[in-house]
Every structure is written in C-alpha cells, then in structure tokens.
Symmetry: C2
Subunit: 165 residues, 2 copies
DNA sequence: CCGGATCAGTTGTACCTACAACCGAAGACC
DNA sequence: GGTCTTCGGTTGTAGGTACAACTGATCCGG
C-alpha cells in the first residue's frame, strides 16, 4: 500500500506548515496569557460572543464557530463563567439547549485585550507577508479547510455515513 | 495604543489560518494515534531521528528540529524510551549532553507508519491545493517562520538580548 | 585551580484537551 | 401515551504540555 511520496516542493511546504502549526499556538497563547490571563481559545470564545446579537450564542453554535468539540467548550465556558466573563442560561424554547452570554466584564475584557492581540497577529504573521500573499493565504487556508472540516460541522457529526453530508 | 485593525482580506486570511491551526493537529493526532498509537509530535521525533546519521541526535538538536522546548522533549523521549522505540545514552564527549538514538523497533515503527501518514497529509492538505498554491504555501510559511522563530533557536534562547541573535 | 555564570537536561506541578460515559429533554413511531 | 432514538450538554478521567525549580557538567576570569 505504497502512497505517492512527497516531491521536493511538497516536502518544503509541508515541513514549514507543520512548523507554523507547532509554533503559532504557543506564541498566541503566550501573549494572551501574559497580557490578559486568557488562552487563545478563551479569547476566541469571548470574541465570537462579542460579535453575536445580544452577545449570546447557543453552546452548539459557539462550538462550531470556534472549531471546538462540545466537551471542550463546556469545560472552557464553565471556567469563564467562574471568572465572571460569561453567563449560562437554559434556553427557554428548547429545554436541552444552553445559551452562553458575554457579561459586561467579559465585554470589557475583550475590548481591552483586542488591541495588543491584533498587534501580535500583525507582528508575527500578517506583516511578514505581501498583500498578494495575504490573499493567497486566504485561498489556500480555505481550500485546506474544505478537507479538514467539509461542512463546518465539527462537533456535530462524529461518525456520520458519507451520504447526506 | 490603538493598533492598525485588520481589513477585510486580512481578516479572511487570519480567520481561516486560525481554523487550520486549530483543526489540523487534531486530524494528524487522530490518524497517528489510531494507526500507530503515536502523537503527531511523537512521530515527528521518530522521523527526525530516522533521517539523522547513526539515527542519533543530541537532545538539544532534536528539540530545535522538532520546534519543541527541551522540557517537553525530555518527557516525550522518556515515554518513547519506556516503549522501546528510542534509547538515551550520555554523550562521551560532553558530560552534560544526552544522545537519543532510534532503536530497531523504532525504525520499524516509522517505516510501517509513514505510508498512511503521508496519505493523510495528501488527503487533507496537499491534494486540496494546486501546484502553484503548494509553492505559495512554502513561501508564505517560510516568511511567517522568520517571525515566529527568527533563528530557528526555539529552546535555546529564553530571554536573550537582541544583540548577537 | 577556584568560584560564578552558563549550559544540557530532568523532574514536579498545574492546567488544558480528548475521549468516553452519562443525563435529561425532544421527536418519532405505532 | 409509551417506548426508542436522537439531540444538546455536562462530567470524570487519563494523558500531554507549559512553566518553574532544580541538578550536575563545562567554561571563564582572576
């Protein structure tokens, strides 16, 4: 069962991509943890809530928007709630569902954290690229995502048959 | 201290890159764990050793090649040693240093794991891209790496002054 | 040589994530 | 209306990573 091996160009791209995937989370986590006591994933969760109407989202919806599994999100939101940055309330229309809402403290946290975070993103990624490369990166990442998570489902479809997806 | 915010194109690129960085490790880890009982990082370590002369590398050198910190590598290598895939021996020329060597079992493990892993890499990343995009990806990732890890040092320089780097 | 600084590496602890098992609520079917 | 299945979410636990503290070996200046 020999696969098609990687040629030189493919290998170069792959090795560098792996390095980025390995290093980038550490850089982002480090900056956010030092400056705000937040994981990059924590920040992602707060940011998604801050952009939602009523600053509120169902847990499942929040999970898909943050590319996370539901168990992971559940733990993270519990911790954020203990810190007063988020509130959880049972959804009145569906007894199973839970709504997560950003508190005022959470909103303030996002507002004060965003500037330095954006600066870090620029410094370590975007400012290293030409405008053409930024466009190319968007297209490349989009293509890869279509393979990594064909339907943006993530948490929802653990072992679905191919049909209907 | 307001930063330059992200324009539409930059935001598109960034959001997608974050999604890739969030999802890709899970896909790689999942495949390797199911098929070989290895983390992606474990595999990376074994692969680097398998390409080295004598299948042997100093811990520090191995750390830089795998983009890891030394404490992390130390834990991982200990586990791999307990499984008989790697051997550690004190370096005779420098009493501080430790050499890590791939055992025969470790070599066999890499040989039998590589094909399916390469297939996964193709399926989820490279085959989603045109040849031009693969080239672009290599250049983009290279540019980003120059910011993430200016000297490929990683573990070596925790708080070095800028001069001399 | 001899003491301080640095280096290579290990260990311990705290935290985060993945996975699996679980629970109650909502539909589906007859 | 009673069971079966699915859905939305939480909890417990095992395992991996980060960070800091530590050990012993080497190097450097006097």
């Amino acid at each position: 069962m020999e696969p098609r091996w990687l040629d030189e160009t493919e290998m170069a791209a792959w090795v560098r991509l792996v390095a980025v995937v390995e290093l980038l989370p550490g850089v982002l986590d480090g900056q956010l943890r030092r400056d705000a006591g937040l994981t990059h994933f924590d920040y992602h969760v707060l940011a998604m809530l801050s952009e939602a109407p009523e600053r509120t989202l169902r847990m499942t919806e929040l999970a898909t928007r943050t590319n996370a599994t539901l168990p992971r999100l559940s733990h993270v939101v519990r911790r954020l709630e203990e810190r007063g940055l988020v509130e959880r309330t049972p959804c009145p229309y569906d007894g199973r569902a839970t709504d997560a809402r950003l508190t005022q403290a959470g909103w303030d946290k996002v507002r004060e954290t965003a500037p330095r975070h954006v600066a870090t993103v620029r410094e370590h990624v975007l400012d290293a690229l030409t405008p053409e490369q930024v466009t190319q990166l968007a297209e490349i990442a989009d293509a890869v995502l279509s393979r990594l998570d064909p339907d943006g489902r993530m948490a929802a479809a653990p072992g679905l048959p191919a049909a209907g997806r």
